[in-house]
Symmetry: C2
Subunit: 452 residues, 2 copies
């Protein structure tokens, strides 16, 4: 892979001006939604709607044809009938446009191989680099550019790359819900040109990205992928991959979807392991793992310690962490002795440390401080099973102290109803990462600490 | 197991009158919360606070001592220091009280084996049957009785039995969040007397219960358990079990928690398989499986068909269903031909059936009707990846038609943000069961259809 790719793609994510080819005045049409989201997202450069009907859309003068576009358009979002795309690419190239994000479908995925071939020729001849076709667009929060849907604007350290537009949008939506945000979102579509490895390499170099979440049904180029992942690891970042097709039925479905299944799951596992891409089992753990890595900034140097007021939740966390290859740290006898000195006798000293159902915030604080001071603890998982007045303040205090000593604190609140919403909100407002079940917390921690 | 147990426990869930031994006027104290929730829950029989201080609590005259309780108290909730519990049980027996729900902790779980032995003697001599000690109480929505926390009052077809009070409360809370509700919730605590099998047998016979969710760290009596589960199956109901201790670390933690770990996970698996209890891997699938069975009323007679506007989501569902032992139905050629006739050519005909990103409600309706009419479809999973106007009405229409022909429809909306909340709300308001990810939907369907 050429080393210029990251800098070349830089312009895709930070264009001077943007055009929407096929912008529409009709609500509900994709050419309307895209223009609306680019404007609502607050993109600060010029935005040109292009449509042969001319006139005005959303208060902007419509450019009637591509050749009449002003200078400086780096990215064109293309939302026109598939048959018109190859010629339009040639015109875009003539106007000096560097990237086309082709939303239009109707190519290979619809059985139209001949049109896909014409598209390939146009890409080569025009010099325009293409994202898509048949994709859901791109988001670059650093440039306040949302050329996709739904509207995604919160800036954050997670990059999302996906062969499924829905999976991309879901991850972006969950990140927004948690106040985490994304650096970029790219829907790959048919990967007519720009592929997962180009984007992985870009986000490896992007200073706004800490973790990359990838949904891919098959690699375009295994060697290029391995090189890109190595760049991610060298940059101290992580790539988490959801790759379906683990079963006969899943393989069949994937082959119908993007016709891109390359090799067996076992082969993909081997490739991922070799370069340090972390495979995840489902879409929610793809989000959780990327979110957790981005929040923590990477793995800690020692093991997981669990402090909880719910004995059962502690056991569920222990089972899950261990099943995913991340062992709970062994409680040292000095730590145990200190805990015994400061905690009531009915607490169950161990890891998980069960403070029992009558635990208050003060008990969590004492236990958390001792556990965090202990050499065997790298990350502390605090699991709350009941609303505890002051818990959010205590968790935030522990996290601040932990940060200074290179350690980490994450939380889980297991419950439901209005109480859960209030407690989770309180913890989040103090900057804490909060999981809804012990298993999701433990699995995310295990994925972040997976070395292979 | 004596056949009278179900009728005997009936009174625990439908008492004439209830007493709270250790009722407190101080907010935050358990003896305050319990009384408050019994009153707020709307229990219609007499409720007697008992406290030597006398006076009034929450507008009720306080009975100063157990011997002064009026006649007709079937259930006493006990929230007093552990050392006083055995004598109090004897007094309760003298007053004809049939059940004591002992919230108080400080027995075996706190290393106080001698007090647990005295409690055992008191249970035998008093004739009072005991739930707990060291438990989080019981809920019986059919009697509007919430002798637990948080306040749980919505009536529904799921029964929850748990050795972890937090897990019990979490399941009840999630059921409340989804508008599903519970028939009963029982926190087992130390299982000094009433155990999981007594309760399973009760809920097997309870006409308000369709599915039972059990969290248990070890069985009290394997033979009794097997007999109780057989009664569940005979009644056409299902028992789902989360049993931690799958790993070395989990076993160790469970042994510290309730000292009740009996045998290995493999042995437990064998027992469960033999009688048809369905093991689940984590707490959210314990909820999902019980909720889904209760919603559907049981498994369908044919396979799973998936209809989606998101190709990626369909693959994720296919992989997960198959990994959990539930195969997607094989699309018959007649069904495929009919789909081809009525759907646009770019749709990917198969199972999963990919209607592609431009699918509207009408396309979902056409596809759903054809899939549901097909003999190979037992359950239809409709996965929405974007807000689709009219989707909720279409899903409800398909579900109504499916119900008449003994088939089932469940939904998934994958996304995030305000849009997700609106779409899920719209689907739920039409009575649909909605999952947040394809994998949770597919796994729940697989668990409901697991035969062993």
């Amino acid at each position: 892979m050429s080393s210029q790719y990251p800098s070349e793609l830089e312009t895709l994510f930070r264009p001077r001006a943007v055009a929407v080819i096929g912008a529409s005045a009709t609500p509900g049409k994709t050419g309307h939604t895209i223009l609306q989201n680019i404007l609502a997202g607050g993109f600060e450069g010029p935005v040109y709607p292009v449509n042969p009907r001319g006139g005005e859309i959303m208060g902007r003068a419509v450019v009637p044809a591509v050749p009449q576009l002003p200078d400086g358009v780096d990215v064109a979002v293309v939302v026109i009938p598939a048959a018109m795309v190859p010629d339009t690419l040639m015109q875009l190239g003539s106007r000096g446009v560097k990237y086309a994000v082709v939303i239009s479908g109707g190519f290979r995925e619809a059985g139209n191989d001949e049109l896909e071939t014409r598209l390939q020729q146009a890409i080569k001849e025009s010099g325009v680099r293409v994202v898509g076709p048949n994709c859901q667009g791109i988001v670059s929060t650093g440039a306040k550019l949302c050329a996709s849907w739904p509207l995604t604007s919160r800036r954050g350290p997670i990059a999302v790359i996906s062969q499924s537009g829905t999976v991309a949008a879901a991850l972006a939506g969950w990140a927004e819900d948690e106040g985490a945000g994304v650096s970029g979102v790219v829907s790959l579509g048919n990967r007519g040109d720009v592929d997962e490895s180009d984007l992985i390499a870009h986000f490896a170099a992007d200073p706004g990205t800490l973790a990359i979440a990838l949904y891919v049904e098959g690699l375009r180029d295994g060697r290029k992928f391995m090189e890109a992942v190595r760049a991610v690891r060298r940059a101290g970042k992580a790539l988490f991959v959801l790759r379906p097709g683990r079963t006969e039925r899943g393989i069949k479905a994937a082959q119908s979807h993007t016709k891109s299944m390359a090799g067996s799951y076992a082969v993909f596992q081997g490739v991922a392991r070799q370069v340090g891409a972390v495979l995840v089992p489902d879409v929610i753990s793809l989000f959780d793992a990327a979110r957790t890595w981005a929040f923590l900034g990477g793995p800690s140097n020692a093991g997981l310690s669990v402090v909880t007021s719910s004995g059962g939740s502690g056991i569920l966390a222990a089972d899950t962490a261990e099943e995913h290859g991340y062992r709970l740290s062994d409680l040292q006898s000095a730590t145990a002795a200190e805990l015994r000195t400061f905690l009531p006798p009915h607490c169950v000293i161990g890891n998980p440390l069960d403070l029992t159902g009558d635990a208050d915030a003060a008990r969590f604080e004492v236990a958390g401080r001792i556990m965090l001071r202990a050499g065997e603890t790298g990350t502390l998982l605090a699991i709350f099973g009941d609303p505890i007045p002051g818990a959010a303040e205590v968790a935030a205090g522990l996290a601040a102290g932990a940060f200074e000593s290179g350690k980490q604190v994450v939380c889980c609140y297991i419950g439901g109803g209005a109480t859960e919403k209030e407690e989770v909100q309180a913890l989040r407002s103090k900057g804490m990462l909060v999981f809804p079940t012990p298993e999701r917390a433990a699995r995310a921690m295990a994925l972040v600490h997976r070395r292979s």
